[in-house]
């Protein structure tokens, strides 16, 4: 199998698995317990918290462990809203993950107005639009660091400056960037940041919300005193330990990984683009995650390509409606102005550190035949000739 769907999830690094393993049985006490077994578990959680703080340049007490990116996004949006009553506007973007968009939609029930900032053809936020729509009624600006579908990296430092000028809180869903590119919450002036372990070789079911000191937010789950009273429930110790280890590895290796992945990704794109006519790259040419390649194949539909690729052992992703579980093509591509047929015909290859050059070459060898086969049976292709 050739796995090229790392933006969906990554396999857990064997070093992470090894670090986690003792915490299922040998060191399995409750970190809140008053006995030496409990202290060991507590120390492990504290150590992981330090790993995260080191990677993100935050304070240790600014890290709140969650079940993943989606929960972190939920706490950031609902938690800040429920902690105040004055400001009633939330600004987000048209290309956010559903974890943010659906949560924002829900907040309308509580009297919040939601503004979605449009993006340009590359998926970059329209800063002028943001500037004209932000005001003293804006509670929160939530804009992702990098987009999961096309990989475009947003100018979040500029966005946070605009937010702060109006006294708004700046939250970023950094699920696709933490562990892949440098993130410095202090230097980038990020008030709240969501991250997820399984996107960068950590385990599934664990993530974190980073909240800078002084930002007020209510918990969503009430109960014990876990996570500073902000997220009740016994800690997922093995998961947290694994997330900490993934952060420690990323701090050392992500820069080298990024360089290697960019080469691999560009090799894939150049190889495919040379062999297959009428491809169109989606996403920003440069301001883009090094591992992400999203393009549209004219005249054919994405799910058909995915099924054919899968039949040959290649795992990828598409923005076609057929793969979304809804009847709409990717909201990200449509927001970027990609025509419907081209959005349905999109493919995403997202690479990771376990991919090799020979895997990429295999895809370059296999995909052109699949495209040709599907184009021959496409009524759109006929009309082109």
């Amino acid at each position: 199998m050739i796995y090229l769907d790392y933006n969906a999830t990554s396999p857990t690094d064997p070093r992470v698995v090894k670090t986690m393993t003792p915490y299922f049985y040998d060191i399995s006490a409750n970190p809140s317990s008053t006995h030496s077994a409990g202290y060991k578990a507590r120390n492990a959680v504290d150590h992981a918290r330090k790993n995260l703080a080191d990677l993100l340049h935050s304070r240790i007490d600014e890290i709140y462990f969650t079940s993943g990116g989606t929960e972190a996004d939920n706490i950031a949006i609902k938690g800040t809203a429920f902690a105040q009553e004055k400001r009633k506007k939330i600004i987000t973007s048209a290309i956010e993950h559903h974890a943010v968009l659906t949560t924002c939609d829900y907040m309308q029930k509580f009297g919040y107005s939601i503004v979605e900032v449009p993006v340009d053809q590359y998926g970059i936020i329209d800063l002028e639009f943001l500037k004209t729509h932000i005001d003293e009624n804006t509670l929160l600006v939530s804009i992702m660091h990098a987009n999961n579908e096309v990989g475009t990296i947003e100018p979040i430092q500029e966005i946070s400056k605009i937010a702060h000028r109006h006294g708004a809180i700046f939250h970023t869903d950094a699920v696709q960037t933490v562990g892949k590119i440098p993130v410095d919450v202090a230097a980038m002036e990020i008030d709240m940041l969501s991250l997820s372990g399984h996107k960068f070789y950590g385990p599934k079911g664990v993530g974190a919300l980073v909240v800078r000191k002084g930002i007020r937010f209510d918990p969503l789950s009430h109960g014990g005193h876990h996570e500073g009273g902000k997220r009740a429930g016994t800690e997922n110790v093995p998961g947290i330990v694994g997330l900490g280890k993934a952060c420690e590895i990323a701090a050392h290796e992500m820069s080298a990984d990024e360089k290697r992945l960019k080469k691999l990704r560009d090799r894939l794109w150049n190889g495919l683009n040379n062999k297959i006519p009428e491809l169109k790259l989606n996403g920003h040419p440069d301001k883009r995650l090094a591992n992400t390649l999203n393009f549209s194949v004219r005249y054919i539909e994405g799910e058909s390509m995915l099924l054919q690729l899968d039949a040959q052992g290649i795992c990828a992703s598409s923005g076609s409606a057929c793969t979304s579980g809804s009847l709409e093509a990717s909201h990200v591509l449509l927001a970027m102005g990609v025509p419907h047929d081209m959005a349905h015909g999109s493919l995403r290859f997202s690479l990771g550190k376990f991919n090799t050059e020979s895997e990429v070459d295999k895809v370059i060898q296999i995909l052109p035949g699949i495209v040709e086969k599907l184009r021959v049976i496409s009524p759109l292709y006929k009309h082109k000739e």
């Binding site: 539909e301 058909s304 057929c322 025509p339 047929d341 021959v376 049976i377």
Partner: protein, 154 residues
Amino acid sequence: MQYSQKVMDHFMNPRNVGELTDADGTGTCGNPVCGDLMTFYVRISPRIDDLKKARIVDIRFKTFGCGAAIAVASMASEMAKGKTLSEVIEMSREDVADGLDGLPPIKMHCSNLGIQTIQEALKDYLTKIGRQDLAAKIKGCPKQEGKSTKANNK
């Protein structure tokens, strides 16, 4: 979401793919906006207006769409081939889905256009031989998808 083995078989090896030059009837349903579009070409023999005697003797299709759309078109083409026009007019999208051992619920409406598109081609045939009255009784393309006579290509 996983497809049945029959869907995968028809998707990987679609039957009756292509076009018929000088087809007696052609029909196109769906559009690229919703992600599924198909065109059917039929040859009728004998070329008469007796729905119980005239048969589809040859059939071809082209599809832009997901795996289900391609499998549906292939299955519908097999089911319609050799049948009389009245038999094909009686067929429904459920018959095609059953023939494929079922389709995921979300595919039932968007992708399951095979039979309607063949019926659209029969409307075209009946219109061409001057029986607009008979053509008008056939439903053809589902309303919500609209009817595009030409695959439009931006």
